[in-house]
Symmetry: C2
């Protein structure tokens, strides 16, 4: 069994990779260099892929900067200590997961993988519309209509974290032996690579470790 797993270098996708490895999949880890300001995550993705025994790690370069309109890719400051107001934050990259899943689908089809893993979760998350289960299910339906039928069955988009909160994700990672010290979450690290601790990603990460009662090796 082979799978393509989207691995960002963050904690969630590391848990998904560990989960699919635990289920016996030979995994191709796929990351994207999309002009993100937090490019340290690509080095983290390589560490995670290696530590968790991915068969290979591919970095697809894509240029979403021409699309602009996000604090992660354009010259817009990353918000700090943002209040939860239910709005979609400026760090949202338009249709990012659609683009990432489209590439994962192309790779899966070319390599005859029928499983794609993605670490979205819709409980403790930043409010991005493309992190919800109904989007993933709709993309899976489109993926199966838009690719060649296979004797190995339909394409499955596996999002094992989609209904977990951040504390559950940390606990599941610990169970699976994920070394969270290899991962990175910060959207806006300092020149020394240290997490800012104030962006949405840092705050969600801290919330998860606190809820799990586990020390975060990255900041402790």
């Amino acid at each position: 069994m082979r799978a393509v797993v989207l691995v960002s270098g963050g904690m969630d996708s590391a848990v998904v990779l560990a989960h699919l490895r635990h289920e016996g999949f030979a995994c191709t880890a796929l990351s994207f260099d999309y002009g993100q300001r937090h490019r340290q995550e690509l080095a983290a993705a390589a560490r995670v892929a290696k530590a968790l025994g991915a068969v290979e790690h591919l970095v697809q370069t894509i240029d979403m900067r021409c699309i602009g309109a996000s604090a992660l890719t354009a010259d817009i400051p990353v918000p700090k200590d943002r209040s939860e107001d239910g709005t979609i934050p400026i760090t949202y990259v338009p249709a990012r997961n659609t683009v990432f899943l489209a590439y994962a689908l192309a790779l899966a089809e070319a390599r005859e993988c029928r499983t794609i893993g993605i670490g979205v979760n819709a409980v403790d998350y930043s409010g991005y519309p493309d992190c919800r289960g109904d989007f993933i299910a709709a993309f899976e339906a489109a993926a199966n209509l838009g690719t060649k039928p296979s004797p190995h069955g339909p394409i499955r988009i596996v999002a094992p974290l989609v209904s977990m909160d951040k504390g559950q994700i940390v606990r599941r990672g610990v169970e699976l032996g994920v070394d969270f010290g290899l991962t990175t979450s910060c959207y806006d690290p300092g020149a020394d690579g240290r997490a800012c601790r104030h962006c949405d990603a840092c705050r969600l990460r801290a919330l998860g470790f606190a809820a799990a009662g586990v020390a975060d090796p990255v900041v402790s």
Copy 2:
């Protein structure tokens, strides 16, 4: 009203651009440099976008060669004078329209366009699964779940040619004043840029002009 239109340089997408211009849309033409061997289509796309009054023409460079597995992007010969056997030909690029639509969606969301035009057709076509109406409808559903809701209504993926045969497409283009002499279709042109007349794309094009009773300015 603004639209993003996928413009390949071929005849079908030229008709779609003309159709949306006729309906009053200000159109951003979007093309892809994806390592295709028939790169002459990018020059054709620029000619078509200009002639039909697109507001702008963007060329997104993407690298699908790492995915391989198609005669359009890998080192595999383009088949000539292929018999129609109902199989998906080797010129199929895995998930290509999914990737193209994902980028169009990102651009549409960033620019607050709610309409995306694509020139797929499922009547006289090469058997690619991502050219069918049910795929387009499923992608549209995913696109609306995966992007920010807008006060301007849902994203529409417009595929006005999906139920036309090639002859109808030629006639519609003539009605709309499309100069087909600006377009190119061949998958495997000679060093002089001339169409080979034997690949699937050349044969479908010839069939369309013959059915419409119109001379093709490119080969006549």
